[in-house]
C-alpha cells in the first residue's frame, strides 16, 4: 500500500491534519432513516466519502429452519462491499474480510437488541457499502443501528461507533484512507452502547502503548457520543418532516 517516499507530515504544527481536520474531529456525517419502502427499516449514511445503505427485515421466520433458536432471535448481518466501492474493481464474492466483519458487527448488534422477545425468528440486516474511504465497518454498523430503530425492533440502546488511530505519534479520531495508509498507522475501530458505555466492538490493527490505548479509548468514547447524537437526530427528523408539511 505505502509507497517508498519521504516521511509525510500527518499532523502539522497547528494540530491540523492533511484534510484540515483537528485531531479530535469527525468527518462530515449525514444520516437518513427510512429510505427503502419495502424494507421493515432502512438507513442511508454518508460518512466523509463513505456511502452506506442498510436494510433490516424481520423479525421473521428462519429459513433454513434448523438455524432457529427457540430461546431468542438470531441476527444475520451481511456486510458487503459493492464491486465499484474501491478504486480497483473488487470481486463481488464475499471474501474473508467481509465474512469476518459481518460476524463481529452482527454480534455487536445482538448486545443491543432484546432478542429473547422474538424466539425462533431471524432479524436480517443487510449493509451494502457503495463507496469506501476507510472506516466502512463502523459506518455500516452505525447505519445498521439506525435501520434497526427505524424497523421498530426493541433495543436497549443504539450502537454507535468510530475509529481511532495513531499516526506518526499522534492520536487522531476517525482516520481517512490517506491516513490509514500511513506506514506506521494504528487503526482501532470501536463501537459502544452510548448510555451504558458498554463496548460491543473493538478491533485493532497495529500496536499501542497502554497509556496510548487509554487516551485513544477516551477519544473514541467522545467520538461515539457525537455519532450517537447524529443517529438520534436522523431518526427524529423523519417525523419532523411530516410536521413541517402540516404547518404550510
Amino acid at each position: 500500500m505505502s509507497k517508498k517516499k519521504e516521511v509525510l507530515e500527518y499532523v502539522d504544527k497547528e494540530g491540523k491534519r492533511t484534510d484540515g481536520r483537528k485531531a479530535d474531529e469527525l468527518r462530515a456525517i449525514k444520516i437518513e432513516a427510512g429510505v427503502l419502502p419495502r424494507a421493515d427499516g432502512s438507513a442511508y449514511l454518508e460518512w466523509g466519502q463513505n456511502k452506506v445503505l442498510a436494510a433490516v427485515y424481520g423479525p421473521r421466520e428462519v429459513i433454513p429452519k434448523h438455524h432457529a433458536n427457540p430461546y431468542k432471535a438470531i441476527v444475520r448481518y451481511a456486510y458487503r462491499m459493492a464491486s465499484f466501492s474501491v478504486p480497483e474493481r473488487k470481486n463481488p464474492r464475499p471474501g474473508r474480510r467481509e465474512l469476518e466483519i459481518s460476524k463481529v458487527s452482527g454480534e455487536a448488534l445482538e448486545k443491543a437488541i432484546f432478542l429473547e422477545r422474538f424466539p425462533n425468528t431471524a432479524i436480517d440486516v443487510f449493509v451494502e457499502v457503495l463507496d469506501s474511504n476507510a472506516g466502512t465497518r463502523i459506518a455500516a454498523l452505525t447505519a445498521a443501528s439506525v435501520a434497526l430503530a427505524d424497523a421498530g425492533i426493541p433495543m436497549r440502546d443504539m450502537v454507535s461507533g468510530v475509529a481511532i488511530g495513531k499516526i506518526s505519534g499522534n492520536l487522531v479520531l476517525d482516520l481517512n484512507k490517506h491516513e490509514e495508509d500511513a506506514p506506521d498507522a494504528v487503526d482501532m475501530p470501536l463501537a459502544v452502547l452510548p448510555n451504558s458505555e458498554e463496548i460491543v466492538l473493538l478491533q485493532m490493527d497495529g500496536l499501542l502503548k497502554r497509556s496510548d490505548w487509554e487516551n485513544a479509548f477516551e477519544l473514541g468514547m467522545t467520538g461515539c457520543k457525537k455519532v450517537y447524537e447524529l443517529q438520534k437526530a436522523a431518526l427524529k427528523k423523519k417525523y419532523e418532516i411530516a410536521n413541517g408539511d402540516e404547518q404550510k
Binding site: 424497523a151 421498530g152 448510555n195 411530516a242
Partner: protein
C-alpha cells in the same frame, strides 16, 4: 400537550414509575426501547411506538390471506412472524390459497405460533396494508376515526389489528388516500378533525357526492361487517 419523540436507549425519566410498554429500566432509570411518543402519567410511563411489526395477541381480530393447505387445516399469512393455523373445523366453506379471511386469534404460544377461530371468508373488496402500530389511530378513540372514514367514503371497512384493512364498496380511492394521511401524521394531534376536513374537501372537490348506489353489497354482509368492527372498540386515540 405535545408529546416528545424518543429513540431507543433515550433516557425518559430518572423517577420511579410503573413500567408500561416499550420501556426498560437500567440502574433505576427508565429508557425507551423503540422510537415513539412518550405517554407519562403521575405513576406510570409508556412509549407509544411509531414503528414495529405486528405481535399476535389473544382475541385480536386479524385479516389474513390463506397461503397453504395443511393436514386438517390451512396456513394463513397474518403479517406475523410465521403463518397462522386454521383448523378445518373453524370454517364452514372450503378455503384455498389466496382466500381472504378475517378471524379472531384463539391461541398464541410461547414462540408466537397462532391458532385462529371465528373465521369469515371475504369475496371481493380490497386490502389496504398499513403499519400495525398505526392501527389504533385509524380506529380512533371509541372508533371515532373509523366512523368518520365509513361516512366520508361510504365503504364497508374492517380493520385487522395486524395492519390489514379490508374495504369494499364506496370510494376506496379516497379511503386509501385518507388512510395514507393518517399513517403519515399519526404522531400529531387533533388528527380526527384534520381527517374530517380532508374528507369534506375531497368529497366537495370530486363534484359528485357519494351516492348510496355506489355500495353494491348484499345487505346481509354489510350488517355483518358492521357488527364485526364494533367488536374491536378498544382502539385508543393517542
Amino acid at each position: 400537550m405535545p408529546r416528545t419523540i424518543v429513540t431507543p436507549g433515550e433516557l425518559i425519566t430518572s423517577e420511579r414509575k410503573k413500567l408500561g410498554s416499550n420501556v426498560h429500566m437500567h440502574e433505576g432509570r427508565i429508557y425507551s426501547t423503540c422510537i415513539g411518543l412518550v405517554e407519562e402519567g403521575t405513576d406510570f410511563i409508556n412509549v407509544i411506538p411509531l414503528e414495529g411489526r405486528y405481535r399476535p395477541m389473544i382475541d385480536d381480530l386479524v385479516v389474513g390471506i390463506v397461503t397453504s393447505e395443511r393436514f386438517g387445516g390451512y396456513g394463513t399469512d397474518i403479517n406475523s412472524y410465521y403463518p397462522a393455523y386454521i383448523s378445518r373445523k373453524e370454517v364452514d366453506e372450503s378455503l384455498r390459497p389466496g382466500s381472504i379471511i378475517s378471524a379472531k386469534i384463539a391461541k398464541v404460544n410461547e414462540i408466537n405460533e397462532v391458532e385462529l377461530m371465528n373465521v369469515r371468508v371475504f369475496y371481493g373488496g380490497e386490502i389496504i396494508s398499513v403499519s400495525p402500530v398505526k392501527v389504533p389511530r385509524i380506529m380512533g378513540r371509541n372508533n371515532s376515526m373509523l366512523e368518520l372514514l365509513k361516512q366520508g367514503t361510504n365503504a364497508n371497512i374492517l380493520i385487522g389489528k395486524n395492519g390489514r384493512i379490508w374495504a369494499k364498496g364506496g370510494n376506496t380511492k379516497l379511503l386509501e388516500k385518507a388512510i395514507a394521511k393518517i399513517e403519515r401524521e399519526a404522531h400529531m394531534e387533533n388528527l380526527t378533525n384534520k381527517i374530517a376536513d380532508f374528507l369534506r374537501a375531497e368529497n366537495k372537490g370530486a363534484g359528485a357526492p357519494i351516492s348510496a348506489a355506489n355500495g353494491k353489497i348484499p345487505l346481509e354482509q354489510t350488517k355483518h361487517a358492521d357488527s364485526r368492527s364494533m367488536e374491536m372498540s378498544e382502539g385508543r386515540d393517542i
